[in-house]
Symmetry: C2
Subunit: 439 residues, 2 copies
């Protein structure tokens, strides 16, 4: 078989390897869908593949691993701006859940997923971890688009368009999990919605299946102080303690939000190797609380980043989320050195890969890893002059400066233009949904 | 004299008038540098000026008043990314003040101002309120570029490139104030740096001149808890109390930052009509504290927004600042309804105009006001579908969607391209400075 070679030459290659090396005037050689090697520009001509390779020259650009969005509800992009300036439970019960009950079906899921995936690719995200109804549809859609995705297999106690009760959700989860094995870009995670919407028995089964199949568990946990207080009142237990008893606190868990954590719980999640998906913009906008990121990073907890859905953010811009996360960690801890530029970039890349069990495949630019790469054009006014590309990426760059995106070696964005997706058609379809929903 | 007429037809006109009217399919008629009228598209053809007017059709766009950046140090854009992840006093004393002492002169001020103004125009800001050395140079530069500016006449106790002592600063301030009267786009403000860098006598004189000349006073106040504590230890007084005794608490004062405010002080600034310039991103990044915006808005305090300088932000994107301000007000107050989309947009426009004493001239789209206008293209993936243009502007739009900018009726940005500025030359000059400073 003929191999395809691409040689990408950016001014800076921000590897996000263990030493966080930033290479100047280096070439990243991609063979088919994998990174073959990193080599100085003045040596790359000696490689045997050089003559057959496509050379992509990116002056003024930084190449970095694609961003990993560790928590989103992609299809909810169709509800963006439907209801704002409301607290979480009122927003959910009066607006989002009724709108979901009325509108969500397989077609909604697919059309919303496409809009979200396009927005994410445009802004530098190359892997997303989703939680929504009709996960079979989302999985097929992700593969068809070429978006690396971890599809959450939703589980709830109550009925929805997808299933009627916990048994049916679980049954369908296992069926979709099997179906997804056939899709090279897609993998699955169990996605019990939250401690307050899933009872013990399905959670016990999920813990068992997750351990047996080595599949992540993607769950909202301790999103607000009210959630924790209500659980304590009803059961005498904080939700995290209950999850611990149900054997869910382990490195397969991606606990989303985690704004309410006492000292004991921080110790426990650190010890158990629980991953935390921090969604600062959604947490701020819904006034849900603030995840103690600085402390968690100090304790060695793997903190990654998510945008949450576009109905509570209202964008799916992980680069912007990274900047907010760094600033909020400093501001909320009172320590301007907390969550520095390097840590912010790690949260948005390798930490996300680790949470999803994919740190050996994505999240950094290293030989043998999959070619999920993005280039940021740092020649804009707002990233000039340039003393340090890492600081510019973390604190000054806009996601609109993402000029190139590769997922699995496939160019998805080239010189700011989509190579595969038809964004006009995606937007027109989304507008059609809004017209129906508004009326 | 021949008049110039421009008729701007966006899908939505977000007026930011007292009723916050959002008009659909309206024309904004601009005669020379002023808004003449707002009229429905189907009636505009009847206006006498229609036949001679240039028609600017903006389908999918929202037209709104240009953004007002109420606190910046424009020329510090040349230090963007020079030092990050450091607390305020260490950042100032070990990095910024030495760099200023070594590098700042008239040429630095002008080149940095141009870079900042270009970045601001590109991101929708049409008026800035500056504080830096060599204000005469900044003023000339602002007029030459066409950027509406309120130039801060810096006053300090200690020597700098600009003056040797408070007397000389004051003397030069009055001279530059007179010089600026000749520049139609530029006005001036007294800019005593901070309570801890300016002693009583010059502050007393500034209070007097401000009142006599009706000129704003632009000052960092209560930026951090440490600043307040140190003043209390040295003098037994909180800085705000001292400023009150010096007759500075009145509607001419733009107090920047104000992260530390007790209940009594909030009452006092509300009663005195003090304006507060909130700089959320700089405050978060330097871990300076959080201004209690939600409470201040409830008490009727005029809160406006600033980016601060690019060395502590690190961008000059007021649209992004507005989004951060809204989210942080919700998150820090624990109330998701705090600082809603309308209030956020008002902070970024009319409240800034009010703080600068220009609410009768700019800050909203109303007949008779100056034509400082921007258009946001809402057809991007991240602002679709569209239920409510106001929510999209506040929570989803990127400043890169600013497609058109007019300042004083003059087109500065058209279809995303500069009409007057040479951004390549500005960037090359900035890069030249960075090369010198790095070496």
């Amino acid at each position: 078989m003929q191999h395809r070679y691409q040689i990408i030459q950016a001014d800076w290659t921000v590897t996000v390897n263990a030493d966080f090396e930033v290479l100047h005037d280096f070439s990243v050689v991609v063979e088919d869908n994998r990174i073959q090697t990193l080599i100085a520009n003045d040596q790359v001509m000696e490689l045997p593949c050089y003559t057959q390779a496509e050379i992509i020259s990116l002056p003024g650009c930084a190449l970095m691993p694609g961003l990993v969005n560790s928590h989103t509800h992609a299809s909810m992009s169709l509800f963006r701006g439907l209801a704002d300036d409301l607290p979480l439970m009122q927003w959910l019960t009066d607006h989002i859940w009724p709108a979901e009950a009325r509108w969500v079906d397989a077609e909604f899921t697919a059309d919303g997923f496409r809009l979200a995936a396009a927005e994410m690719i445009r802004s530098g995200t190359t892997c997303l971890s989703d939680m929504f109804y009709c996960p079979d549809e989302a999985a097929r859609c992700a593969q068809q688009i070429g978006m690396r995705s971890v599809i959450g297999l939703i589980v709830l106690d109550f009925p929805s368009v997808w299933a009627q009760n916990a048994d049916e959700y679980l049954h369908k989860a296992l069926a979709v999990h099997d179906e997804i094995r056939e899709l090279p870009l897609v993998s699955s995670a169990f996605a019990p919605h939250a401690p307050y919407t899933v009872s013990d028995e399905p959670l016990r089964q999920i813990a068992m299946y997750s351990s047996e199949l080595d599949v992540p568990v993607h769950m909202h946990v301790h999103e607000t102080a009210a959630e924790v207080a209500e659980a304590q009142q009803k059961t005498g237990q904080r939700p995290l303690e209950r999850l611990d008893q149900l054997n869910l606190l382990n490195p397969n868990l991606i606990a989303v939000h985690m704004t309410e954590l006492d000292e004991f719980e921080i110790e426990r999640v650190a010890e158990a190797g629980v991953n935390i998906a921090h969604c600062p913009e959604s947490n701020l906008k819904l006034a849900s609380g603030i995840c103690p990121v600085s402390t968690l990073l100090d304790r060695g907890v793997n903190v990654c980043l998510g945008t949450d859905g576009a109905a509570s953010n209202n964008d799916l811009d992980l680069l912007g989320e990274m900047r907010t996360a760094a600033m909020l960690a400093k501001g909320s801890s009172g320590n301007a050195s907390a969550c520095n530029a390097r840590q912010a970039i790690e949260m948005a890349t390798i930490n996300g890969a680790r949470a999803l069990g994919m740190a050996d495949q994505i999240g950094s630019i290293e030989p043998g890893k999959l070619a999920d790469l993005i280039a940021l054009d740092l020649t804009s006014l707002n990233t000039q002059p340039l003393y340090d590309p890492v600081a510019q990426i973390a604190y000054a760059a806009s996601s609109r400066q993402v000029s190139h995106v590769w997922i699995d070696g496939v160019p998805q964005l080239r010189d700011f233009e989509f190579c595969q997706l038809d964004s006009d058609e995606i937007i027109a379809t989304a507008a059609g949904w809004a017209n129906k929903i508004k009326s």
